[in-house]
Assembly symmetry: C2
Homo-oligomer: 316 residues x 2
């Protein structure tokens, strides 16, 4: 993986950066942003690290996570250079109204929009974090322990800690190098997967108890009452649809989350390469990746479920 010369020159030339990632940031967005900020600052440049949404509690272990701000109100953006990470248009980061002096985009998502003066978009890259790793090396920056922890987390989260099909030899070799630079794989895994609150765990059990199986589709749901009863938030349910995937008979796992009366946010996860859930989500105005996508349906639970099952039958 070789970063474009144009991007290197751009980063070397500019001095005041706003690094911004997509809303609802995940480990790849967060880790990539912090690592790039640390790298640019080690070159004597100034950076502001922005996300519209706060850093989720369980990502606060990332060294440098306190760099994030969710306000750019005091910034004169016209004097700043934007680096957009893990997404490729300003709207995904919620900063479409700001004017920057110039902008670069570094991303690995498929649907690329026409945004940015300099672009490095590589849908074949398993994670933006992997691209940042090569970029940092090319800039001649030493990968510190802190940078290593951020990039390891970014790569781990987007490869399901090396369980998804994007786990390439390159992913493992770069991760080996990051361990040598100081990343602690078990500490990172523990922070990512084993820091649940009691409320979240109790809610998981309640949600899994709602499991219904329709052929190879697992449907679970969570109501507003269940959220209230557990004192849990919608972000607590992020990984819930992974669990029914354990069932051998299941190809799609769908979690229906009630966000208001008769309005459901649906997370779709598929196994293997047979089913592209992004196509199903798109039928309801949503989107995502082949194995993980989401959409919203305005209907009561029964009608929403039937609409989804019908869509799956049409796609299959």
């Amino acid at each position: 993986m070789i970063p474009p010369k144009e991007l290197l020159r751009f980063l070397q030339k500019e001095n005041n950066f706003v690094i911004a990632a997509h809303i609802s940031p995940d480990g790849d967005a967060l880790g990539s942003s912090i690592a790039l900020s640390m790298a640019l600052e080690s070159l004597g440049k100034k950076t502001i690290v922005y996300d519209k949404d706060p850093v989720p509690e369980f990502y606060k272990f990332l060294p440098g996570s306190e760099r994030f701000t969710n306000s750019l109100s005091t910034l004169n953006s016209q004097l700043s250079t934007l680096v957009l990470l893990d997404c490729n248009d300003a709207e995904r980061a919620g900063i479409e109204k700001l004017q920057f002096a110039s902008s670069a985009v570094i991303d690995h998502h498929e649907t690329a929009r026409d945004f940015g003066d300099v672009k490095w978009i590589d849908p074949k890259s398993p994670a933006t974090g992997l691209m940042i790793f090569y970029l940092i090396k090319e800039l001649g920056v030493t990968v510190t322990k802190e940078i290593a922890a951020n990039l390891y987390t970014a790569i781990a989260i987007d490869t399901g800690t090396f369980r998804y099909s994007n786990t390439t030899p390159d992913v493992l070799r770069v991760s080996a190098e990051l361990i040598e630079a100081g990343a602690d794989p078990s500490c990172i895994a523990e922070n990512l997967y084993e820091t649940w609150t009691d409320n979240r765990f109790r809610l998981l059990l309640k949600v899994l108890n709602t499991l219904e199986i329709y052929n190879d589709i697992a449907i679970t749901h969570v109501t507003l009452d269940m959220f209230r009863g557990a004192g849990a938030a919608i972000s607590d349910t992020e990984t819930f649809p992974e669990f029914p995937r354990k069932l051998k008979s299941i190809k799609i796992s769908a979690l229906f989350r009630e966000i208001e009366n008769n309005h459901y946010k649906i997370s779709l996860r598929s196994k293997g390469r047979d089913v592209n859930v992004a196509k199903i989500a798109e039928m309801f105005g949503g989107g995502g990746h082949s194995n993980a996508a989401g959409c919203k349906i305005r209907a009561d639970f029964k009608a929403a479920k039937e609409a989804l099952l019908k869509a799956v039958r049409e796609i299959a």
Copy 2:
């Protein structure tokens, strides 16, 4: 990691091997055995692959898993060379009554016994599979797609697919090489983690619903009635104690499995480096590793639980 010259000469010299691993074989025992069998046969040698217990259903995806036999009754063991894998005394493999012409031991467990003419025991190795990888290379055997899938599985299972603290740079670099040789990481992960039966999943939910928390100890249990009701076997519950570990507040997860009236088999899992559960298990005549151990207690559930909690307090 360098295999001892003596072991290489021993394997090169002998021609009729019995490769045997420990009872209740896991992915490291199975994958290492099959890979070594394939390697030795490619050198023109004869091998029998033995385990006293059958290959668990969800490991039958391993190419060559049909090589396993669980009977040596027709064998003249005195004409055969034993290679004991992933354990270091014949009793752990249930073959202590057989006499072999000679024997070698390849293992990474800590408590080494005085068994075997030639030994390679490296407790620092994350998996026996990693040692077999280096051995095969040293023997000049090409790592085929089939060998790669077996060794990748062996290494993956013993490192929690790269989540445990034994995930070294070497582990990741060898795994990268195994992917290049044909191992499919997502296919292996799916087979290892996402091929549950409905009964197993339903039993998990019932078991998790028994969760009790005592300070930083999570206790779950499964009764004979629950096993019968779910049509599930004790091996179905192998990974259940992993789940309560997700709770941030928990340092030890203990699963009590009723194996007969007033007799419990207890699996212990700990998080981090603070608690050595092997020491707790040893107090009841059991054993294991620092983060995963097991023992049995003869008592009713309440008394067994109290005995365990008392032992934890004594160790802490």
